[in-house]
Amino acid sequence: MTQVIEEMKETTKNVDELTKDDAALTLDSVTYAYRDGKKRDVLKNVSASFARGKLYSVMGKSGAGKSTLLSLISGLDVPTSGTVSYDGVDLTKMNRDDYRAKSIGVIFQAYNLLTNATVIDNMVLSMKISGVKGKKKELAYELLEKVGIDREKASRKVLKLSGGEQQRVGIARALAHNPDVVIADEPTGNLDAETGQQVMEIFQKLAHEDGKCVILVTHSNQVARATDETQQLTSGRLSTPKKNRSAA
């Protein structure tokens, strides 16, 4: 995995530039309210920072605002007030398409893969959007192998894979462009215990060995305990970070 990522580093300029700063992501007094007539705050004055080289978890009940937080961090949405900054730059001030394509990798709970395309096509397409150069297919196969998807499965259409396999493809695709920040929504929710453990090891390696900023949104205490820090999201407010002793 490290070798693959190292190869990709050569082709993704911005990643090298951004690793100098510790606080990759900063949320400053972020409030988010639905704009559907009734004003309903989902996130209330949330402030937090996430550094490179660390694995974070955000826990909370359904409807607590976890997915909203994830969409704001990933640049898919913008806060009603406050700022979300990447390397000190407000996301609303930068090209969020470029940010999503190059700086952040998102693992969706519902995978969000192109179901009619093959696994390898999903990977290569993601790399193309991100501007990854070099032998994309080879890089994609290597990444897929790391998450337990062999070449035969890689040539299948996504629809032909099980939920767990699709989740792993989602993880591989999020890492395909060697992003600086990786966020994942319930990344082990559809995986068996053994694969879940393998995936967690990948996240730990990404954070601790490759210096990525990894944020997991989860219901699972077990997953949370495997991260460096956990924050609880309750009724739109984020608690003070709690360090986990079991984290590597």
Binding site: S71, L76, D97, R100, A101, F108, A110, N112, L125, I129
Partner: protein, 430 residues
């Protein structure tokens, strides 16, 4: 979507091919029937206006003074004028064919003045043929018949002197060519009918430009054919020649009735296909809009995923547009092929229907209709076949309409891509 698009393009192809072919046919016939102008005296109006006495005893268009024809011929509305003047002349010192010396005739031949196009057509059709020298080209140049040349020992390069008889001033003309007259090598039918007469013997005709006839002092009888640049210019041309002195009891007209008799069914068919094309385009546009809206809704998720991965709106929209154009190109090939294949049988069927309708309206029993407005004219037959032809213009027009449909469909894609927010799409889906 591809099948529907191909069908729409096929329908458009049929309409355009029929329309363009029929338009060409109509334009062709319009130029044939609609460009030749006839000047006909309306005798009733002439009598009513009290002017008929001025031309008493003379009938037909020749009643217009020859100089007027020359003035009318200078109109800018005309693309072609065919003028022929016939002036009776004499050639002192020379013999004439069919001449009877004791008759002591004042004139023994005819000086034909004409513009080049008219005389060219006579020579083109083989009625006359240059056998020595060349065709006349300028004022003062003439051609004479082989028999006349042999009778008088004339050859190319010689000059002859002509006048209008008696002691009228002589005009010198140079012989530049000798022709053979194939219509009456021995005097011809006219001579048989009218008896031997040097004036009516075509071999005594000395042919040159209109200027030659003017130079001898008289244009004699002038026959003129006027051809308009565009049939639509008839009213303006009429005004102009009336201002130049055409009496108002002359009708200036083209053969509209003949045109309608021949091309009427085709013209009606053209109108039908025109209306069909408008309907197909309007309906096709709506169908394409609806179908692309549905298609893009099916692909909403794809848009969401690609946008979430960081694909730019512009790039995504460009992808959809390219896809649409590629699909349209394929449908254009298929649709055009189908359209081209079925357009001929459809044309035949439509035309037959129009001919039958025209016959029923006219109460006729056959496809033959009398050409109105031309008493004594030969019966005109309605066009019963139009051969569909593939022109570059037709292909271009069909391609343009297909592109228009592709643009319509692309607009839906572009608007959707611009409007949809990825998070919204993915949340809805999830």
């Amino acid at each position: 979507m591809g099948v529907v698009l191909a069908l729409i393009i096929a329908a458009i192809s049929v309409s355009v091919l029929i329309n363009m072919t029929t338009s060409a046919v109509i334009a062709d016939y319009r130029s044939r029937f609609g460009s030749e102008v006839s000047l006909d005296m309306n005798y009733q109006r002439a009598v009513e206006s009290g002017q008929s006495e001025a031309y008493e005893g003379v009938e037909g268009v020749d009643e217009i003074p020859p100089q007027k024809y020359m003035e009318f011929a200078k109109s800018d509305y005309l693309k072609e004028v065919q003028l022929t003047s016939s002036t009776m002349i004499d050639f002192p010192g020379l013999k004439a064919l069919d001449e009877v010396p004791e008759d002591d005739m004042i004139v023994r031949g005819m000086l034909i003045g004409t513009n080049l196009k008219t005389i060219s057509s006579e020579f083109e059709h083989g009625q006359r043929r240059i056998i020595d020298g060349r065709q006349f080209a300028a004022s003062g140049e003439v051609i004479i018949s082989q028999q006349f040349a042999e009778l008088n020992g004339l050859k190319v390069g010689d000059t002859i002197e002509l006048n209008r008889g008696n002691d009228k001033p002589l005009q010198k003309m140079t012989i530049v060519g000798i022709y053979e007259d194939n219509t009456q090598k021995d005097g011809g039918a006219a001579a048989d009918f009218m008896g031997k007469n040097p004036v009516t013997n075509r071999n005594n005709e000395i042919i040159g430009t209109i200027d030659n006839a003017e130079s001898v002092g008289s244009l004699g009888a002038v026959s003129a054919k006027f051809f308009l640049k565009d049939p639509a210019m008839l009213a303006d041309f009429t005004k102009e020649i009336q201002a130049k002195g055409l009496p108002n009891y002359y009708d200036v007209r083209t053969d509209e009735a003949g045109f309608n008799a021949v091309v009427g069914p085709v013209e009606k068919m053209s109108k039908v296909t025109n209306a069909f094309m408008v309907v197909v385009l309007a309906l096709g546009g709506v169908i394409v809009l609806l179908m692309s809206t549905l298609a893009i809704r099916e692909r909403k998720y794809e848009i969401g995923v690609l946008r979430a991965m960081g694909m730019k709106k512009f790039k995504l929209a460009a992808g959809f547009v390219t896809e649409m154009l590629a699909l349209t190109a394929l449908c254009l090939v298929v649709g055009f092929g189908v359209g081209a294949a079925v357009s001929q049988p459809i044309t035949n069927s439509l035309l037959q229907g129009q001919i039958e309708a025209a016959q029923q309206t006219a109460g006729a029993t056959s496809q033959t209709m009398e050409a109105g407005g031309l008493p004594g004219a030969a019966p005109l037959t309605a066009l019963d076949k139009v051969d569909i032809s593939l022109s570059a213009g037709a292909v271009g027009e069909i391609a343009l309409m297909a592109i228009l449909l592709a643009v319509l469909a692309s607009v839906v894609s572009i608007v959707s891509v611009m409007r949809y927010e990825p998070m919204e799409i993915l949340s809805d889906r999830n």
